[in-house]
């Protein structure tokens, strides 16, 4: 029993950094790396999304006007 616990403790030392790396690889998978380039893409996407929702609102307004006629 003591030998098993000792082996587990010894195995824990290499397992800990590997587990930490695996967690980080999982957490940051796909890698949005937050560089200036990806920040610019994020801003562009937010703008596009906003524009898209505005367009949809306008379309809904036009549809509303048309349905009244």
């Amino acid at each position: 029993m003591e030998a098993i616990i000792e082996l587990l403790l010894k195995a824990g030392v290499p397992a800990a950094p590997l587990a930490a790396i695996a967690f980080v690889m999982w957490r940051f998978r796909g890698g949005d790396m937050g560089s200036s380039e990806s920040d610019a893409i994020r801003v562009e996407l937010a703008t596009l999304t906003r524009d898209h929702s505005e367009t949809r609102e306008r379309l809904a307004r036009i549809e509303g006007l048309l349905s009244k006629k």
Binding site: K10, P14, F28, R29, M33, G34, S38
Partner: protein
């Protein structure tokens, strides 16, 4: 889900493709093998005639864990990369730790004329001094960009 070994941000990491990540994984695997040898092999895995008496006064497991720790920190810094602004600091810390470990090996070997070990350790030490420089420039870049975003 896309699992990738190649981080995207830091220009230095980009320039080297998978080089730095592969290098750290190689060191990690070597340290794991070293650790397994230290735990399971009956004899001493670090002969004092090769590594020096100062280095071997510490357990082989200590040195294996030291390399594993430094490589793990460096790899974590590579995988996080620009997703956290200060990830260059992690890589800088990992590289500095490697410089300390490899420098200790090189210094220890000079005390017993283990010139092969001196050359190998010095090469790795020099490589990590370069990595320290690269990551220091990344860190300075991160500091200079502070407040712009």
């Amino acid at each position: 889900m896309s699992w990738q070994l190649k981080p995207r941000a830091s220009r230095n990491l980009q320039r080297h493709g998978n080089g730095q990540v592969t290098h750290q994984w190689v060191l990690m695997v070597m340290a794991l093998a070293f650790w397994a040898a230290a735990v399971f092999m009956p004899g001493p895995v670090m002969p004092p005639e090769l590594y020096g008496y100062w280095v071997t006064s510490f357990a082989a497991e200590f040195w294996a864990a030291s390399i594993m720790f430094a490589s793990a920190i460096y790899l974590i810094g590579c995988y996080i990369n620009g997703a956290w602004r200060w990830s260059p600091a992690l890589r800088l810390f990992g590289a500095s730790w490697h410089v300390f470990t490899m420098g200790a090996f090189a210094y220890g070997a000079t005390t017993v004329d283990g010139w092969a070990m001196v050359m190998i350790s010095s090469a790795f030490c020099g490589l990590h001094v370069w990595f320290v420089g690269l990551n220091l420039s990344d860190l300075i870049g991160a500091i200079l960009r502070w407040g712009r975003k």
